[in-house]
């Protein structure tokens, strides 16, 4: 079952912050985050493996609450290059496949 992301779309001014949420109805082993720019392939941002784990990538970080089966992606001091569609990918316990979420379209304006 496809994880649900919220919000569906975000519009930001450069320098503003945003949070994107990902929620699954299944027990999860890991959560991945990817960014896809229009007409391009999805690009890996990070993997989170443990409950409560938080990881960072420049000014982009994420948390994973294993008990709630939720993950959040935090974008701070957004840059124009952050524009794109963000997908979470969830991996259920006992499987090796990644199921992608509904996507969140982020637009950053000067």
């Amino acid at each position: 079952q496809q994880p649900v992301q919220s919000p569906q779309a975000v519009i930001l001014r450069e320098g503003e912050d945003a949070v994107i949420n990902c929620s699954s109805s299944k027990a999860l082993y890991s959560v991945h985050w990817y960014r896809q720019k229009h007409g391009e392939a999805p690009v890996f941002l990070m993997i989170l493996l443990k409950g409560g784990e938080q990881k960072g990538h420049e000014k982009i970080s994420a948390s994973f609450n294993e008990k709630k089966q939720q993950s959040s992606l935090y974008l701070t001091a957004s840059q124009l290059s952050y524009s794109g569609t963000y997908f979470c990918g969830t991996e259920k316990i006992g499987t090796d496949k990644l199921i992608f979420g509904t996507g969140t379209r982020l637009q950053v304006f000067p």
């Binding site: 496809q2 082993y29 890991s30 991945h32 990817y34 391009e40 392939a41 999805p42 690009v43 890996f44 993997i47 493996l49 997908f87 990918g89 991996e91 499987t95 090796d96 496949k97 990644l98 199921i99 992608f100 979420g101 509904t102 996507g103």
Partner: protein, 116 residues
Amino acid sequence: GAGVSQSPRYKVAKRGQDVALRCDPISGHVSLFWYQQALGQGPEFLTYFQNEAQLDKSGLPSDRFFAERPEGSVSTLKIQRTQQEDSAVYLCASSLVSDRNTGELFFGEGSRLTVL
């Protein structure tokens, strides 16, 4: 090669034609995945290989879809008797195997299929 390579990048087929889409994964990557991405949607899982073994094909929409990876490297996704609803971008991704979880996926540029 340096990255995942897919061909053709664009394919226009008449309804009822058969198509074959090729994926060349990163050398040494054991896992290979196919996803279907409709316009404005997230990638939807189709099938997954570990070496030449197809471990999961639960996402293939119908028996018109067939995937193979006979030598554990290059993979081909074949769609028989194409229908308009097959129009989408078909993404291939490869990954190093991890004992614990699906590793980082490296995606190709995709093959955009348009069925008229």
